[in-house]
């Protein structure tokens, strides 16, 4: 093998660099996002597990139902009725985008476009650049 020394050193350097994230973070527990839950409301529109896993699908269905079909009232499995509105219904209990939505979304590195148009409760008018 020609230049064995250089090649082996190169391979060693490559392996160290490629596996750097693995051994650098080894043994460290990543802190899970801490969400601020509503204080005076115990039950969301559906069961917590369902909301955790499928709120994005549900919001999509709500959006299509309200905008396309004009059906604005959601009757959940227990027969309780809710107005399907992100700004009015969801954010009435979850009063902070920053302390609820963003914490999880940032952790998972997803950036849904909801707040491009919908107004978050913690959106300050003063934030408007002028």
């Amino acid at each position: 093998m020609y230049n064995a020394g250089k090649i082996i050193i190169g391979i060693v350097i490559f392996v160290i660099l490629a596996t750097f994230p693995i051994w650098y973070n080894h043994g460290k527990a990543v802190t899970l996002p801490q969400l601020e839950l509503p204080k005076d409301e115990k039950q969301c529109v559906e069961a917590t597990d369902f909301m955790k896993s499928s709120h994005m699908k549900m919001l999509d269905e709500w959006r299509d139902s309200v905008v396309r079909d004009g059906n604005r009232v959601y009757v959940n499995g227990a027969g309780k009725q809710y107005l399907m509105s992100l700004q009015v219904t969801c954010m009435k209990c979850h009063t902070s985008r920053e302390k609820f939505c963003d914490r999880c979304h940032n952790y998972l590195n997803v950036s849904p476009g909801c707040w491009d148009c919908h107004i978050a409760p913690d959106y300050k008018v003063a934030e408007r650049s002028k």
């Binding site: 004009g70 059906n71 009232v73 009757v75 499995g77 227990a78 476009g113 148009c117 650049s129 002028k130």
Partner: protein
């Protein structure tokens, strides 16, 4: 043998019945979530508006400004301050621009003098045959069964075909983030729009769902604007049109606009 066949048919029939029981019971005891219309919603077959210019003329442009403000503050409509990127829902056009059609040449002669330079309150006409809907490549705009030409901002890709198709200039593109330009108090129950979507008047579909009339009609205390169901012969709009001479904007184009003007 006969007895056997008879028994076989009985059992077969019962089994088939039995198979039907489970789906039927499921349907009866269904706890599936449902989506239903709000019970207090105003329901119409063909929504339309009458703009009573006789009354608006008395009030002058201040009244029209007030009606526009009612609309814009309800829907967080920005004031871009630049005619090229203006966002328009309910605005004023000179008479000559609002009614340029050749169909009403005699009318123009009749109206010569007093009508020239008259400001007319204009908005989306919610056409029966809307050209904007025909050209939209994503179905972001469509005609609802009650006649409202709706917008789904989630689906709009900002291609502006609809703006080219609309003969009334009733659609506006957000060339930039509109939020910094909202001069009115923010209505936190209604969203804003974002850069790259087209917006327009929606006949306040969100207020109709709550059982309220459109914001501009509510603000028109003197009945300068009247909203109602064209298909209902007893509706206020139909009564007004029965007893008054009315025109529409560019009817010769065949779009069948549903905003009627009493001059």
């Amino acid at each position: 043998m006969d007895d056997n066949r008879r028994r076989f048919l009985k059992i077969a029939g019962l089994s088939i019945l039995g198979m039907g029981i489970k789906p039927a019971a499921d349907a009866l005891a269904s706890a599936e979530p449902k989506m239903i219309p709000s019970p207090e919603a105003l329901v119409g077959k063909r929504w339309a508006m009458v703009v009573n210019m006789k009354k608006l003329r008395e009030g002058g442009t201040e009244v029209m400004d007030r009606l526009s403000l009612a609309c814009h503050s309800t829907h967080n409509v920005p004031d871009m301050g630049n005619p090229k990127s203006d966002v328009k829902w309910l605005w004023q056009e000179p008479y000559e621009h609002a009614f340029p059609g050749t169909e009403s040449e005699i009318l123009h002669k009749h109206h010569e003098g007093w009508a020239s330079g008259l400001k007319v309150l204009v908005l989306c006409n919610h056409c029966d045959n809307p050209p904007c809907v025909r050209v939209c490549p994503t179905k972001a705009t469509w005609k609802r069964p009650d006649g409202i030409v709706m917008m789904d901002y989630h689906r709009c890709i900002g291609c502006r075909y609809c703006m080219a198709a609309c003969p009334y200039g009733a659609r506006s593109l957000n060339w930039q983030d509109p939020r910094p330009f909202i001069k009115t108090e923010l209505n936190r129950e209604y969203p804003t729009r974002t850069r790259g979507v087209v917006e327009k008047c929606t006949f306040c579909f969100e207020r109709l769902a709550k059982g309220l009339k459109p914001a501009c009609v509510d603000a028109a205390k003197n009945k300068e604007l009247v909203f109602g169901d064209m298909e209902d012969p007893k509706s206020e709009v139909r009564e007004l049109l029965k007893t008054n001479f009315f025109i529409r904007r560019k009817p010769e184009l065949g779009t069948s606009p549903q905003v009627y003007y009493i001059l």
